[in-house]
């Protein structure tokens, strides 16, 4: 067969019913699923950090720096799935130098940069400055050079300037909370504002994205906190772990309520798109939505955490449960992004047909490429934890 047609036939074989030609192939694949997932982890981890700093939840103190460094590690990678999806790394920065207010993606560049440079970097810098000064005097070799450069050549650690740092760090965190909301609310806005797609177009989308971001970020920091303590052979602070789990439980309830409200609203309104969406949910998204997102990723953790609010088994059992729950929540939120991004492209805008999607193993949009961008942040985090070990910091009472 003519190779020009071969590809078309393969594509046509996965179509059901009537579908427009440009809807056969999905334009947004697994890398675009990763983008909101990773951005959500950033926003969620930061919000957990701000719980300690701004809302004064003292028991969360052991996770404060870990949460910040986690947010930073994932932030550095957040744009990479987009760049690799577009395949134009040498033009990627043009979005920053030719901004336009009508382009949601162009604004993302600035939201991202604001959050990375003004919020995350500054907050981490203010938090670490005293330690950088101390370490620059005691460390040797590569570490010494890095600490010296980052302390900006100043070794002023007088109580007055430390107090000022703390105050400025606090202000940055206060600015950071709406910024984190903006960052991830905006990601939801990108989907929510596409009025041609009934699966995406809802004003609830930014709010749903925001709360699911908090859920995933908190779960990630909880899992990391357990893993880091395990690897360091340290006894874990159970009060801290219980508190994270408590907040995770609360935020999952809100997230679940928001998502349910959105669906109930859809069902009650039953607009012309309702039939195709019902078919989408019961058909193509059956496994990823009903089983993975709602069942495994939400109901199971919600039930388990709910029981643990009343019944508290021994610490090591609770720790194991929290670990499993954290992983399940992360899987669930990944599938939530999957269902939004992939689900929204599976049905035709004619509402009369479906295409299907199969994730390939290799290739620029394949499973391996996605895995790389999911694993890289953990390497960055490991490097940061080695370079700036939170457990060697001078204790500061915020």
């Amino acid at each position: 067969m003519n190779p020009e047609f071969e590809h078309l036939y393969q594509a046509l074989s996965k179509v059901d019913g009537f579908i427009y030609p440009n809807e056969i192939e999905l334009s947004w694949s697994v890398l675009i699923v990763l983008y909101p997932f990773i951005t959500g982890l950033v926003a969620g981890a930061f919000i957990l950090a701000s719980l300690e700093r701004v809302f004064n939840v003292k028991s969360l103190k052991p996770t404060y720096v870990i949460a910040l460094l986690t947010a930073f590690s994932f932030m550095l990678v957040a744009t990479m799935p987009l760049v690799f999806h577009l395949g134009q790394p040498f033009r990627a920065w043009e979005i920053m130098i030719t901004p336009h207010l009508t382009s949601a993606m162009a604004i993302f560049g600035f939201v991202y940069l604001w959050y990375l440079m003004v919020v995350l970097l500054l907050e981490i810098w203010f938090d670490y400055r005293v330690d950088l000064v101390i370490w620059s005097k005691t460390a040797t070799g590569f570490k010494r050079i890095v600490y010296k450069a980052l302390s900006l050549g100043s070794d002023d650690i007088s109580p007055k300037s430390v107090k000022l740092d703390d105050k400025l760090g606090y202000i940055v965190t206060v600015i950071g909370i709406p910024s984190a909301f903006l960052l991830h609310g905006y990601v939801g806005f990108i989907f929510g504002s596409i009025k041609a797609n009934p699966w995406w177009s809802t004003v609830m989308m930014p709010i749903i994205f925001l709360f699911s971001a908090m859920v995933s970020g908190i779960a990630l920091v909880m899992v990391l906190f357990i893993v880091i303590n395990y690897l360091r052979k340290q006894k874990i602070d159970m009060l801290c772990l219980d508190t994270i789990a408590k907040y995770l439980f609360y935020i999952i309830i809100i997230d679940f309520t928001m998502e349910s409200l959105d669906q109930i609203h859809r069902f009650y309104e039953a607009e012309e798109s309702f039939e195709i969406i019902s078919l989408l949910i019961s058909g193509h998204l059956n496994f990823t939505l009903l089983i993975m997102q709602i069942g495994v990723g939400m109901m199971l953790p919600l039930g388990t955490l709910g029981v643990l609010q009343f019944y508290k088994p021994a610490a090591h059992i609770r720790k194991a449960i929290y670990f499993v729950v954290g992983i399940l929540v992360l899987i669930g939120i990944f599938f939530m992004r999957w269902n939004v991004v992939i689900g929204g492209q599976l049905f035709s805008k004619s509402f009369l047909g479906f295409t299907s999607f199969k994730l390939s193993l290799i290739g620029s949009e394949g499973f391996l490429m996605a895995s790389i961008w999911l694993v890289v942040p953990f390497f960055i985090l490991t490097f940061l934890l080695w370079l700036f070990p939170p457990w060697k910091k001078t204790p500061v009472d915020h």
């Binding site: 047609f5 036939y9 920053m96 900006l152």
Partner: protein, 145 residues
């Protein structure tokens, strides 16, 4: 103001200045010439080779077949819709032969039963039952089916 804050401020100003400098140096020259895009992009896109040559190019050599097609049910179809893009064939008719589809599967792409496809517009057949042992073109001339 403590020294480290002064330096931080200086670093911030430096980053902003660097950004403005990069913006000035790296914005493509023709950007904004006509609108919010690179003016030269239009010429670059126009310079792309056109791969579909259109029915008129086919008529110049294959006039009998095109006339036959235009008198039949397939009159609305473009030749290249079945035979593929003909830009190479037009330049080198002997060397570059076009695709001649003859499989049942190929005809079935349009003519198999599909409830979402209007019956009035396209004749539909259950290609599993309808003379499954023969090729469609044995009975139906694709240029005048």
């Amino acid at each position: 103001m403590p020294l480290h804050l002064k330096r931080l401020l200086m670093l911030g100003v430096l980053i902003v200045l660097l950004f403005l400098l990069l913006k000035h140096l790296l914005t493509p020259v023709s950007f904004g010439q006509f609108g919010h895009y690179r003016g030269k992009a239009i010429d670059e896109i126009a310079a792309h080779q056109v791969k579909f040559v259109g029915n008129k190019a086919c008529v110049s050599c294959h006039d009998t077949i095109v006339t036959m097609k235009n008198e039949g049910y397939h009159s609305d179809l473009s030749c290249e819709g079945c035979h593929g893009a003909a830009y190479l064939h037009v330049d080198h008719p002997k060397l570059e032969k076009l695709f001649k589809p003859d499989s049942r599967e190929f005809c079935g792409k349009c003519h198999s039963i599909n409830k979402a496809r209007p019956e009035k517009a396209v004749t539909q057949q259950n290609i599993k039952d309808h003379h499954p042992e023969d090729k469609c073109i044995k009975c139906h001339n694709p240029h005048q089916p």
